[in-house]
Symmetry: C2
């Protein structure tokens, strides 16, 4: 077995990029856990089914490891396939009798998306938008230069929409948008966000918050746009919690930055529920900068991959 | 008992207008049915709870009697309250000790909305947007001059959004928008829509289809806008079904109008599933025209209310 594993590991592989979206309500977050339905668990199970005749199934590395209940419209992951697995994606190998040996790599990758969606079913809460051959140096997690989330709150003034209730927090009080924006603006920039993170041993909490602002949509829903190079654990929901405390008048506008500077978690605001939170988009540099960015990220964080949140 | 009923019936009443929205997925349609969860059933049960100490609970008359699984963002109904019930809506009568006899009628109506939502709960699939005192002559059903629906289809080209999957049909083939619009345009105007209706005994099928057009939203979802003075049973879903048959090339563009002219239901297209359909808005004339419109509608249809669909 050990020898077989080594042989498997040594095989040349082609990296694929998966773009996908999910409704987080019925997932226990991204990371696979025994006995629980998670996004990684479902996707890797589907991959194992699609590639069952072609060696050890691949695992996924994701850009944003979302918590239980958090949604994603622009999630990104990568996986590495052996040549055998790539060829195995060709439908014609599944007994249809039409052998097409010249199918391009890109066409094979696209088939992976279709076959994963075929397993997930047409009405799924998980949808693979595309599977493509990744450019050289691409790492879904470490090449990423930014992540952007949205948090939706329907406060007392907003019109509640039952069709959007799974991705919108219904808040029973009125929230002052101007105060929320004033407080949010004091948190942007390069800071140690320890006061707004659930601690993880050995993980850095220094982040650049590139955008944190609130707008109101046509139906009165308040939407936070939150963008950073990366996020530590539960950071967006803590930032939103401070905004809500300011918006309902329970926290002075200036206090949000004081808490940041204090560097310690506080009970002056609540970490908001997962249901209002959606990962919207992950940004990557041009192809030429991918490998460099990945190396830089690894060095700056000075961490093994599993210790740090995204 | 009979005497009591007559006394109840003779009491002067004030008409209220309810504006509300719902996710149709977990409702067996609008109309109350024993043992089934329906929108009317849930709302009337909530009304009976709110008004339990104040005589016979009111019943609802709705603008658009939606089928099982159909959603609504702009549904309208009316109900009639006795003075006793109106006063009963005043919170101060419920033991808080602050008697406020001068509360306006409008304020009492607004309380009804809050109290109904309190019963439905903050994360409900049914939300009362407002309760207001109806203008004289208002009838939610017979005063309405038009109803507007939308039908959402994510075809093979569209990006599927798991967060909107409950209100969007995922269709596995490609649909030709131009062909769909060409066919739809031939159906607008005043016609007998018998070929596009599920028959109901004694109900007219003559309708004015004021708008039937398809657009594509930013994510590629094809959205039908369907507006008419009123709709007969399953009419929108039949119209959409003909569009889809045209869009995928199974029905010639000109055939949609030929079927209309034939006046008989056909198996050349399918009535589409309920999940993609949402009642968006109901239109009413200015206050001055309300009673006149209601009388006109009743005369034109020449029917008892229960025999006709909306």
């Amino acid at each position: 077995m050990e020898l077989q594993r080594l042989v498997e590991t040594a095989k040349p592989r082609t990296r694929l990029r998966l773009d996908f979206s999910y409704d987080g309500a019925d997932f226990q977050g991204w990371a696979k856990q025994p006995g629980l339905r998670t996004v990684q668990g479902e996707l890797e199970k589907a991959l194992a089914t699609v590639l069952q005749r072609y060696g050890t199934p691949p695992t996924l590395t994701v850009a944003g490891r979302t918590d239980a209940g958090v949604h994603a419209l622009g999630q990104v992951a990568h996986l590495d396939l052996t040549d055998e697995q790539l060829v195995g994606l060709d439908d014609s190998h599944r007994g249809k009798g039409k052998h097409k040996p010249d199918v391009s790599l890109e066409a094979r990758a696209a088939r992976l998306a279709r076959r994963l969606n075929g397993i997930a079913g047409l009405s799924s809460d998980l949808y693979v938008k595309s599977a493509t051959i990744a450019p050289p140096g691409f790492d879904a997690r470490f090449s990423a230069t930014w992540r952007r989330y949205e948090y939706r709150i329907s406060d007392r003034e907003a019109e509640r929409n039952p069709l959007l209730r799974h991705q919108t927090l219904w808040y029973p009080k009125s929230l002052d948008l101007d105060a929320m924006n004033a407080a949010a603006a004091t948190l942007t920039g390069l800071h140690d966000f320890a006061a707004y993170c659930r601690p993880r041993e050995g993980a850095t909490t220094i982040r650049t918050l590139e955008d944190f602002s609130w707008t109101v949509d046509a139906s009165g829903v308040k939407v936070a746009r939150v963008k950073a190079d990366a996020f530590c654990h539960s950071m967006v929901r803590a930032l939103v919690g401070a905004s809500v405390a300011v918006g309902e008048g329970n926290l002075p506008v200036g206090r949000a930055a004081e808490i940041l500077d204090g560097g310690r978690r506080t009970n002056e605001f609540k970490v908001m529920p997962a249901k209002g939170l959606t990962l919207i988009e992950v940004g990557y540099p041009d192809d030429a900068g991918l490998a460099e960015r990945a190396e830089l990220t690894r060095q700056r964080r000075g961490l093994t991959p599993r210790q740090d949140a995204d």
